[in-house]
C-alpha cells in the first residue's frame, strides 16, 4: 500500500505534538514508530525518471531523530567508512539546529546529499545501530541515511552551501584522474591546502559513475552538478575530454607538465560478461552500456537525444547488486513490458540496498532467484529471442561466507526475452597500466596501494574502484580523502 508524503507528514506531526517538548526515556524513544521514506507512487513513477524517494519532511526528521538513543559507545560510527559523528548530527536535528547538523557531517564527509541517497546504510551504520539490535531487525534501526539526506537537502534548499576555506596558494600542482566520488573528494581536500588541482575527465561531463551510472530516479544529476560547481568555486580546474594514458601519459604529467603528484581515481573498467554462448548477439548489453546510454547520453529522452537505446519488450537483467536494480528499473521506465532480475543466489545474499530491492518490486520487476543463464538464443537475424536458464540450490558457504549456489542437474529451461543486460561487475580499466609499465597491479588489474593509498610509483596515489574493484561511493570517497591527506603531507 502506497502512503503519500502528505499522509506521512501528517502522522509525524501528530507524533511530534506529543513528544516534542518532553524529555524522553530510552524506552519511550524506541517506542516511536520508524518514519517511512516518502516516495512517488509506483504506478506513476514507472512512467517518469524523477527521483523516487522524496526525502523526509521537517516533521518526519524531527520524529526520526528522537529514535536515536545517543549511545555513548556510538556503534554506528564504527560502521561508517568515513566515521561521521552520527549521534552528533542526529542530536543537532533533534535540537532543530540543522546548520550545526550539516556542519558535523561535513567534518567527515564531503558529499552528504549523495551518500544519504546511495550508501548501503543497512550494511554500514544502520547494521550496528542499537535500536535495530533491540528489535533484532536492522531494518528497524534509526534511519541514519534518510536523516543525513534531510539535512543535506535542507542546506541546498536554504542556499546555505558554503565554499570551504582555501589556504594561500602553495604554487604546487596536483593532477586528479577521474571526476567520480574518489576524484572529487581528493580534489577538494587537496585544493583546501592551497595546491592547484586539475581534474582530468575522459567523458564530456564530470561526475563519473554518479553521472553515467546511477540513474536520475535514484540520484538527481542536479545534485552532482552542484557538487562539481562547489569544486570549481574552490579553484579546481576540470578538464573534460581528456583520457590520461592516451591524451597524455601519466609519466608526462609528472615529468613534463609540472604536476607534483597524481591521484588515480579512474573507477570501473571493462564490464564482465558471463562467458556463455550467445553473449555477443544483438540485444545483449552490459549494464554499463545500457545505463550510460540512458543517464549520460540521455537516451530516455527519445525525441531529443541522438543516442539510441534498444527498444525492449522482455528484458532479463543478470546480477543482484544496485547496478542490476538500476538497469531493470530503467528498462521498465523506457517502456519494457516485462522485466526480470535473474540472480543465482537468494534475496538474502543480494548485495543491493534493501530500499532498491523494495522499490524494484513495487515497480513490478520480477525476481527470478536461484537461477542463472546457461545460453542466450538468437533468431535468424542474430537478435536475442530467448535465454536458457538453469536452476540452483544453495550449498556450503564459500570464501565470501555466502552459501555457494550449486546447479541442479537437468534443470535447463528456456524463457523468452529480447534483451539481456549483464550486471555482474567490472574488470579494471587496463588503460593506465598499459601505458605506465612501472605501476604495479594485482592479478585482477587493480592498482596495488599501501595504507596511505600510495602506489608502487613515487608521487602517484590511487583510490576507489580502480583499487577496490567494484565498491561504493562512500568507500571511494573515503579513499580519496586518505590519499589527499597523504598527498598534502608529501607536498
Amino acid at each position: 500500500m502506497h502512503i503519500s508524503a502528505e499522509e506521512l507528514k501528517k502522522n509525524a506531526q501528530l507524533i511530534l505534538s506529543e513528544i516534542k517538548d518532553k524529555s524522553l526515556s530510552n524506552k519511550e524513544r524506541t517506542a516511536i514508530p520508524l518514519q517511512e521514506m516518502p516516495a512517488q507512487d509506483p504506478k506513476i513513477r514507472i512512467n517518469n525518471m524523477e527521483e523516487v524517494a522524496q526525502g523526509y519532511s521537517r516533521e518526519q526528521a524531527l520524529v526520526e531523530s528522537r529514535r536515536c538513543l545517543q549511545c555513548a559507545s556510538a556503534p554506528c560510527v564504527e560502521g561508517c567508512p568515513v566515521q561521521i559523528n552520527i549521534p552528533g548530527f542526529i542530536k543537532a536535528i533533534e535540537e532543530e539546529n540543522f546548520e550545526k547538523s550539516i556542519g558535523v557531517i561535513k567534518e567527515a564527509s564531503l558529499l552528504p546529499s549523495i551518500c544519504g541517497r546511495v550508501c548501503p546504510q543497512e550494511s554500514q551504520c544502520q547494521e550496528k545501530c542499537t535500536v535495530g539490535k533491540i528489535f533484532k531487525d536492522p531494518n528497524k534501526s534509526v534511519s541514519i541515511g534518510r536523516l543525513e539526506r534531510f539535512v543535506a537537502d535542507w542546506e541546498a534548499s536554504e542556499a546555505k552551501r558554503s565554499i570551504p576555506e582555501i589556504k594561500p596558494s602553495t604554487g604546487k600542482k596536483v593532477a586528479v584522474i577521474g571526476s567520480g566520488p574518489a576524484g572529487i573528494t581528493a580534489a577538494a581536500d587537496i585544493a583546501k591546502e592551497g595546491h592547484e588541482v586539475v581534474v582530468f575527465e575522459a567523458f564530456h561531463k564530470p561526475g563519473g559513475v554518479m553521472i553515467y551510472g546511477i540513474p536520475e530516479f535514484r540520484l538527481p544529476k542536479k545534485i552532482v552538478e552542484d557538487e562539481i560547481e562547489t569544486l570549481k568555486k574552490m579553484n579546481v580546474t576540470i578538464k573534460q575530454n581528456f583520457l590520461v594514458g592516451r591524451s597524455r601519459t601519466l609519466k608526462d604529467l609528472l615529468e613534463k607538465d609540472g604536476f607534483s603528484a597524481v591521484f588515480i581515481g579512474t573507477g570501473a573498467g571493462l564490464p564482465k560478461f558471463m562467458g556463455i554462448e550467445g553473449e555477443n548477439l544483438v540485444g545483449v548489453f552490459s549494464a554499463n552500456e545500457y545505463l550510460t546510454r540512458s543517464n549520460l547520453m540521455k537516451a530516455y529522452k527519445k525525441d531529443t537525444a541522438a543516442t539510441p537505446i534498444y527498444p525492449s519488450k522482455k528484458v532479463m537483467v543478470f546480477g543482484g547488486g544496485n547496478v542490476a536494480m538500476d538497469a531493470a528499473r530503467t528498462a521498465i521506465r523506457l517502456g519494457a513490458e516485462e522485466v526480470s532480475i535473474v540472480y543465482r543466489r537468494t534475496e538474502a545474499e543480494m548485495p543491493a540496498r534493501i530500499e532498491e530491492v523494495a522499490h524494484a518490486k513495487e515497480e513490478g520487476i520480477k525476481f527470478r532467484l536461484l537461477e542463472n543463464a546457461s545460453k542466450i538464443i538468437g533468431d535468424e537475424k542474430g537478435r536475442v529471442k530467448a535465454v536458457e536458464l538453469v536452476t540452483f540450490e544453495l550449498g556450503e558457504p564459500d570464501a565470501s561466507g555466502r552459501r555457494r549456489p550449486v546447479q541442479v542437474k537437468g534443470s535447463e529451461h528456456v524463457v523468452e526475452a529480447d534483451t539481456v543486460i549483464v550486471a555482474i561487475g567490472n574488470e579494471s580499466n587496463p588503460l593506465i597500466k598499459q601505458t605506465t609499465q612501472e605501476l604495479e597491479v594485482n592479478k585482477y588489474g587493480n592498482i596495488i596501494v599501501d595504507e596511505n593509498c600510495k602506489t608502487s610509483m613515487d608521487r602517484v596515489y590511487a583510490g576507489g574502484d580502480i583499487v577496490l574493484g567494484a565498491a561504493t561511493v562512500i568507500l571511494a570517497m573515503g579513499e580519496g580523502r586518505k590519499a589527499a591527506a597523504a598527498i598534502n603531507k608529501l607536498l
Binding site: 560478461f273 553473449e279 555477443n280 547520453m297
Partner: protein, 285 residues
Amino acid sequence: MNKILLKKQLSDDVFMMKIEAPHIAEERKPGQFVILQLDTDFGERIPLTIADADPKEGSVTIIYQAVGNTTHRLSTLNVGDKIQNLLGPLGQPTHIKNFGSVVCVGGGIGVAPLHPIAKALKQAGNHVTVIIGARNKDLIILEEEMKAIADELIICTDDGSKGRKDLVTAPLKELCEKNPKPDLAVAIGPPVMMKFASLTTKPYGVHTVVSLNTIMVDGTGMCGGCRVTVGGETRFVCVDGPEFDGHLVDFDNMMLRLGSYKAKEEEDHHKCHLDLQIEQLQKNS
C-alpha cells in the same frame, strides 16, 4: 571546444575537416581514432579515425561520410564553427616496422584511416602496394596522397569508371599468388570488404590486419558496446583494438551488431536528408 580550421567536400557525401586539437595532434599515432560529440547534452558520441595530424599547427584531420545523425550534422558545420567535444587519441596505435612488402587495401572511406598507416609503413622501409576500391570514380578519395607514398597504386571501381573494373579482392589475390607473396596485408573499409579481403589472404597465409569501426559509447574501456568476437574470444575494439587479425575476426557477428539500431538510424537518415534539403532550399530562395 575544438574549432574547425578547414573543410573540403571530397565527394557527394564525403567530407574532410581539419580540427584544432593541439594535444591530440601531439600524441596521436597512425591507427588511432577520436570520439566526437556535437552537443554536450543530447549529442551522440561517435568514433572517427584520425586521417592525419599536424602537431605544429595543432590540428587533426578527419574524413567522414555523412551517413548518420551526427555525421550529417557535422557536414553542415563550416570553418570557424566549433565541435563541443573531441576526445583522443584512442585505441592502440598500428604496429609499424619493416615487414618487407606490405599491401594496403582501402575501400571507400576506409582509405582515409589507411593513408597514415601506409605512409608510416613506407617510412619504416616497406615496399608498399596500395589498392583503392570505390563504387565509381567520383567516390575515390586521397588518390594523389596515396600515389605520393605508394610504390605501386592499383585502383578498382565497381563500374569500371576508373582503373580496373574489379573488386579489391581480385588484385589482392593476384599479389598473394606472386612469389614472393606480401609479408603483410592491411585492409580497412566496409566490414564486408574487410571480411572478403581476409578470406582472400587466408589460404596464402598472408597475415592481415583489419581496423574495426564498431558502435561505441565511451571509447575508453567502460561500456563494452564495441565488443567483437576474435578467435572465439570477446575483445573490446576501444582498448584492445581497433586493429585485429582479420583471419580471426567474426565479421558476420560484427555486422549484425553494427545493425543494432538500424531502424532508428534509417529514420534519422531520412530526417537528416529532409532537414538538409530544406536548408538548401532556404539558402537558394
